[in-house]
């Protein structure tokens, strides 16, 4: 088991280095070099030389590569070209907004999506199942940004119930200072017992949360349903039924226990979709997290920032999936050492 963990950790590092390598070489091989991005269209020779020196581009390629990777491993992604701040600090400032959003979404997906998938599987080919399947076929065809904008039109434009975008109203931001203990506003405002600010933060997160949940829901119910269907076809489910176990107990105690393991995979996979989707959602709702930041950085040709954030997001995803894989050992007696 420890050997397996060690192997997986090694693989994680190798994969990350691979990811860094790919981004590095792509940025050097394909048209649109960082220099052009950095200084615009009609640079002077001195500007180019200065920029190359700053980015280390005057060095031979393999030197550049070693430097890039070793700095990236240490978490040094350079200075953002747009804000002139170290990229690491920018990431630190924004990551918790993304974590707050994705964590809450994951929670919501587990609470809502998984039961829908399970019910759909238990009552397969019933009207409930058909409805769920039809909705999820339609659901995956919706672009994330349209879902977000539709919600904005309805709940801000038509009903006026919820704010359009952002993480806090400016009045609340100015009048209700609270300590950024965790960086997650919902928790921080509660810790500060500032309920006005809490309500404001909660109102702001509803729409991004709903958007991200809605676009990921079809995926989660679909995977959950398939996993549950597989479990229900297992021989041991038939055995339990053949020995007079009530269906309710078999489905929701026995089969769900078997679902626990694949369920963790669902959560891990979902996180991947969430990280991708959060880029668009944060952009739509002006959510001050990593996703919106990376989009704007790419659009503004801020190479160090963009590469830094994507590497961080990728490592987060890989780490979570590693943890999920390791949890298998806890949940599945077959994998535990006898």
């Amino acid at each position: 088991m420890y050997r397996y963990i060690a192997q997986r950790l090694l693989l994680l590092v190798v994969t990350l280095i691979g990811v860094a390598t790919i981004t590095f070489f792509l940025s050097r091989v394909l048209p649109g070099s960082p220099v052009e991005m950095m200084i615009g269209f009609h640079p002077t020779a001195e500007q180019i030389a200065a920029a190359k020196k700053e980015l280390g581009l005057d060095q031979p390629l393999h030197r550049q590569y070693v430097r890039f990777v070793s700095e990236a491993i240490r978490g040094d992604f350079g200075i953002s070209l747009r804000t002139k701040q170290p990229v690491v600090e920018e990431i630190g400032r924004r990551s918790l907004a993304t974590i707050e959003l994705t964590l809450l979404t994951t929670l919501l997906l587990v609470v809502v999506g998984v039961p829908i998938g399970v019910i759909s599987a238990v009552h397969s080919n019933s009207p409930v199942d058909h409805t769920v399947r039809t909705l999820s076929i339609a659901g995956v065809a919706f672009p994330v940004f349209i879902v977000g904008m539709l919600l904005q039109m309805l709940f801000y434009g038509k009903l006026g119930w919820l704010p359009l975008q952002g993480r806090l109203s400016s009045e609340v931001y100015l009048d209700h200072p609270f300590d950024r203990v965790t960086g997650m506003f919902l928790i921080d405002t509660l810790l500060a017992r500032d309920y006005v600010a809490f309500r404001d933060a909660a109102a702001h997160i509803v729409l991004p949360l709903a958007t991200l949940t809605l676009v990921t829901l079809p995926l989660v119910t679909r995977i959950t349903r398939n996993l549950m269907m597989e479990v229900l076809q297992e021989d041991y489910v038939r055995t339990a039924l053949a020995y007079g176990m009530p269906r309710r107990v078999v489905y929701y105690r026995y089969a769900l226990k078997a679902m626990l393991i694949p369920l963790m995979t669902v959560v891990g996979l979902t996180l991947g979709f969430l990280l991708g989707g959060s880029v668009v959602v944060e952009f739509v709702f002006d959510w001050p997290g990593l996703g919106g930041y990376v989009a704007r950085s790419i659009a503004a040709s801020d190479f160090p920032a963009a590469v830094g954030v994507t590497l961080v997001l990728a490592s987060a995803y890989l780490t979570v999936n590693l943890v999920v894989d390791l949890l298998y050992f806890v949940a599945d007696p077959r994998l535990r050492r006898a």
Binding site: Y236, M245, R247
Partner: protein, 337 residues
Amino acid sequence: MSEEVLAIRDLRIEFPELFRTVEAVRGADLSVRRGEIMGLVGESGCGKSMTAMACLGLVPPPGRVSGHVSVDGFEVVGRPDRELLPVRGGLAAMIFQNPGKALNPFFTIGRQLTDVIRLHHRHGERESREVALEALRSVHLPDPEIALGRYPHQLSGGQLQRAMIAMALACEPKVLIADEPTTALDVTIQAQVIVLLRELADARGLTILFITHDLGVVGSLCDRVSVMYAGRVVEVGSVRDVLESPAHPYTRKLLATVPKLGDGHSELAFIPGQVPDMAFPPSGCAFHPRCERASPVCTKSDPDGRDLGAMHRVACHHAHGGGETEAPGTANGAPAR
């Protein structure tokens, strides 16, 4: 004559699909008497496993069941799930082909046995453990105390099948339905399981419906045997009658596929033709496309069962036996061209 523990009359099981209906069982009759071991034999897809599931009211949706199945006098067909719970495991217990998969990998053997025991007897925790231990001892599982704490993956296939049988016995069912319990096991383990079942039947008067595609196993274990083809029972009789003087052409061909030691047969016999598509079974006798005795009447009418001897019934227009002499080519059961 002793009473029937399991009585199946005109059982039909259909699976409606979008543009067709698969008739898995088409009017099967079967009767198992107290204390006997009845073999149920047929190729895969003939409906024997579905018949077994019908005994517990566990035909999976969208299957439609009609006819009669009574377990120890309790009519199963048409009952709601709730009323069937005491039947499952309590009146009729089932053991399955692949014990490694049929037991839940996430629970210990002990937990699975005691769960089932507590479901059917109002025993406390400790009492059910005692019952479970006793059951494990009765199937000669080594170190039953240790086995209770083991997960299925920690036991061998043979041990698991013993544990499975113990689980079935623990609730003291009226009939044990064994659905190909030896098929997935090694030959030596197979023999052990069969010896065990024979022993349990002799010692406890256990009634067993033993489902298999292997007539060889039937010969060494069963008292009587029913042969199933395309959803019907085509021949039934004592093991001796059926194996020594098979009356139905299908039974004869099935017998010919059993490899005999020292027979000098190098090639494996097989039955020519295909198992019929159960959505569109052949007209008349379902076996006629594969039968060398088939005559025009076979394509038109499905034969009813008729008695050949005291306990020997066959459903065939041109059954063997009854003084008829056989063509030399078919005497040994070799497929005629």
